[in-house]
């Protein structure tokens, strides 16, 4: 390109400086809530919400220690384990459902295929909270809302809808050439064998994405969990616990511990999210290369 006159160069430099200043401000705005909560999770002077300065003056580890040792009112370790166990079951069931539905829709011709897809689309349009009350009554009628059966109810709640959430996975399976399947049939493979030996291995990045996404579900949701668990504190999931800590009666003593808990939940979830993004991008670059 031809050499530019000096004035153009200056304008360009000024623009560059303005742009970078702007980006720095943007970055600060986006980071402040996180920096703030990390700072306050180490706050030493008081445990309530109110703090006379934006950043605390004294720092301590007590909030983290208290979160794990003071388990009489809020049993955070237990909540963590509850959520972890529920997530594992949820993730196994949802992933299987999504894979089964996606394969059937992407690879097999059957009469009810289109009606099923339309039905799923309609279901997805209803606000999920609308049927929440009914699901609670239904689970109650099945006796799943009492005592140690509550975790089962939660697993059902979080994974029952997976059969309607096939879109991303099905879209991905559609990109796998059908010729691969046909080659396998000619070699005498059954549908089940093509499913497990050809489709599933090719879907690996998408499966990882699906596994982690459904694993994260129970960590994020607090609405369904709150309605099903109600006051049974020993079955709280992390999100209900964190929510509780900010309620009137607890916030005075628990705000800084809430910050600590939020940091502890956010770190693994963010890492998992970054992993999903990597696999998602890998998946988007195509199932079969070359």
């Amino acid at each position: 390109m031809a050499k530019k006159p000096a004035s153009v160069k200056t304008t360009k430099m000024v623009t560059d400086i303005v742009v970078h200043l702007f980006l720095v401000i943007v970055a600060i705005v986006w980071l402040i809530p996180f920096v703030w909560i990390i700072a306050h999770s180490f706050r030493g002077e008081s445990t309530g919400m109110f703090c006379s300065t934006f950043f605390p003056k004294e720092y301590t580890l007590d909030n983290y220690i208290g979160l794990f040792t003071d388990i009489k009112t809020m049993n955070f370790p237990r909540m963590f384990m509850n959520t972890f166990i529920i997530s594992i079951f949820c993730c196994l069931i949802s992933t299987f459902f999504v894979l089964a539905v996606s394969y059937s829709l992407s690879r097999v011709k059957w009469t009810m295929r289109r009606p099923y897809m339309n039905m799923a689309m309609i279901i997805n349009l209803f606000p999920g909270f609308m049927s929440m009350v009914a699901i609670y009554f239904l689970l109650k009628a099945m006796g799943l809302t009492e005592g140690d059966r509550i975790p089962i109810a939660l697993v059902i709640c979080f994974s029952a809808g997976a059969g309607a959430g096939f879109h991303v996975m099905k879209g991905y399976m559609d990109t796998i050439p059908k010729a691969l399947d046909e080659a396998a049939y000619i070699d005498g493979a059954t549908r089940w064998q093509t499913f497990t030996k050809i489709t599933l291995p090719l879907c690996k990045p998408m499966i990882v994405y699906q596994v982690i996404t459904s694993f994260m579900g129970p960590w994020m949701d607090f609405i369904f969990a709150k309605i099903i668990v109600r006051a049974e504190a020993q079955y709280y999931t992390v999100s209900i616990g964190l929510w509780k800590m900010l309620e009137m009666e607890y916030i005075g003593g628990w705000f800084t511990r809430f910050c600590a808990g939020a940091v502890l939940v956010a770190i693994p979830i963010s890492i998992l999210f970054m992993i999903t993004q990597r696999f998602y991008q890998e998946a988007m670059s195509g199932a079969v290369k070359g």
């Binding site: 980006l23 809530p33 059937s104 049927s131 009554f137 709640c157 309607a164 089940w192 999100s239």
Partner: protein, 465 residues
């Protein structure tokens, strides 16, 4: 490309030709007609004992469920009235005590009746399958072929019938825990199931009364509905388009050739996506409270006097603007992620050509970038729009719908979905909650139908034959 069916039905079956229910009834003869009453008869006669007995067992179980006391027939019988007997205390003369006589529970009747209807639908599916299967088996036997055994049928489940095997569990779960509750809630919209006038145990059908109340702008609920609907649409509009334009702007700034550290800016933005929303939103809510960090900061910096606060959560306008701004904080990173990929796909020649024609940066954006973006992003924008109509989290976690005027059930920042939640969970006005749910669905369905029909993936789908 059409998929070739290299593996066919079990060979014996495929010889008999069409096998729909009508064909079976027309050509089946007396034995098949009889098997319409006694499920599995055809299979048993053809020698498929296990299959036949399974069908028969399903029929017996179904009939038993329908006729036992408090079984299916009872609930269907109670459905029109939804029960009339209230729980009463009755004086028992022999024992000299008051006894409770448990009355009807309308909510239970409605739920069980809907479940019974689902059972009937499933039974009809099995019934149809049994008649067809009996007809097939008998036809094979008559034509002298080898009737497939149970083992053959199971093997078929892993081959040409794999969709039946794979779809059964997800579909069952979907039917029980999504479809039954949905039908149940929709029916609720036509009842007076509500804490108002004490209809929590016994309630009745009221026809379209609830819908009339919603549209009657003189009633309390009708007036609130109008304002909530208006705010929902205003919110969805601003939340979607501000996000889109500012997000595009941000993506383009990062994309500029002379911007340094592109990856750093993008990862800072994507941190918002990575941290669970309920965590970040609860943090932000606490920062914007009257005695929260933002007001404290402004006081310490001297912008506000001691004791002066900005009413982020207590004034309707402040709360609404705050929501839209926070939603930018939440949403811009998503837009940046989407747009970045698309911007890279715009052919460089188009910019080259525009520059040669003397277009400046603004004109390049207006005539090259924008038309391309709008073309590619329209489905995304509409999805975002419907997502924002349904955006429960941000409203519920940030303002809780507040501020709320005394006597109202809807706050000034409530969307239809959060109002639905409040009505059902806090106020126990389940019927009104259901009406609003149906209304939300209608709004979403109209928007989605238009998008979905015009989207590429729907049209491509037609090619699957």
């Amino acid at each position: 490309m059409a998929m070739k069916e290299t593996t066919k039905l079990i060979p014996a079956y495929s010889k008999v030709g069409p096998n729909g229910l009508l064909t079976a009834l027309k050509n089946g003869g007396p034995m098949i007609w009889l098997s319409c009453l006694i499920m599995g008869l055809g299979n048993i006669l053809a020698g498929q004992f296990i299959k036949g007995i399974l069908f028969l067992a399903i029929e017996i179980a179904f009939i038993a469920y329908m006729v036992i006391p408090h079984g299916g027939a009872y609930w269907l019988w109670m459905l029109p009235s939804l029960g009339d007997t209230a729980t009463e205390e009755v004086w028992n003369d022999d024992l000299g005590v008051y006894e409770y006589v448990i009355g009807d529970n309308s909510q239970q009747i409605l739920l069980y009746a809907v479940a019974t209807m689902a059972v009937i639908v499933f039974f009809v599916i099995f019934w149809r399958a049994s008649v067809r299967s009996g007809y097939l088996a008998l036809s094979v036997k008559r034509s002298g072929g080898k009737v497939p055994t149970m083992k053959d049928d199971i093997i078929a489940l892993f081959n040409e019938n794999i969709h039946k095997l794979l779809m059964a569990p997800p579909f069952m779960m979907l039917a029980i825990f999504t479809m039954i509750p949905l039908v149940y809630m929709m029916l609720m919209a036509f009842t007076n199931y509500s804490a108002l006038n004490d209809h929590l145990i016994l309630f009745d059908w009221v026809g379209l009364q609830n819908f009339a109340a919603i549209f009657d702008s003189t009633s309390a609920i009708g007036r609130q509905f109008g304002s909530v609907l208006l705010w929902t649409l205003v919110w969805a509009f601003f939340a979607t388009f501000l996000n889109f334009f500012l997000g595009t702007f941000m993506a383009m700034i990062i994309q500029r050739p002379s911007t340094r550290l592109k990856g750093l800016w993008r990862s800072i933005l994507s941190l918002t996506i990575a941290v669970p929303q309920f965590v970040s939103l609860m943090i932000i809510r606490n920062m914007f409270k009257d005695n929260g960090a933002v007001n404290t900061l402004l006081q310490n910096l001297g912008f506000l006097g001691q004791g002066e606060v900005l009413p982020f959560m207590t004034d309707a306008t402040w709360a609404r603007v705050l929501l839209i701004v926070v939603n930018l904080w939440v949403g811009i990173p998503y837009t940046v992620m989407q747009v970045t990929g698309i911007l890279q796909n715009i052919p460089a020649e188009q910019y080259e050509a525009a520059r040669i024609d003397g277009a400046n940066v603004a004109q390049q954006f207006r005539y090259v970038t924008l038309p391309y973006m709008i073309f590619v992003m329209t489905p995304y924008i509409i999805t975002q729009f419907t997502g924002n109509i349904n955006n429960f989290n941000i409203i519920y976690l940030l303002t809780g719908g507040g501020p709320t005027y005394v006597g109202d059930s809807a706050g000034q920042t409530d969307l239809l979905v959060t109002w639905l939640y409040k009505l059902s969970i806090d106020k126990q006005q389940y019927n009104m909650g259901a009406v609003i749910g149906i209304f939300t669905f209608v709004v979403l369905a109209v928007v989605a139908l238009v998008t979905y029909r015009s989207s590429g993936s729907y049209k491509d789908e037609e090619g699957f034959k």
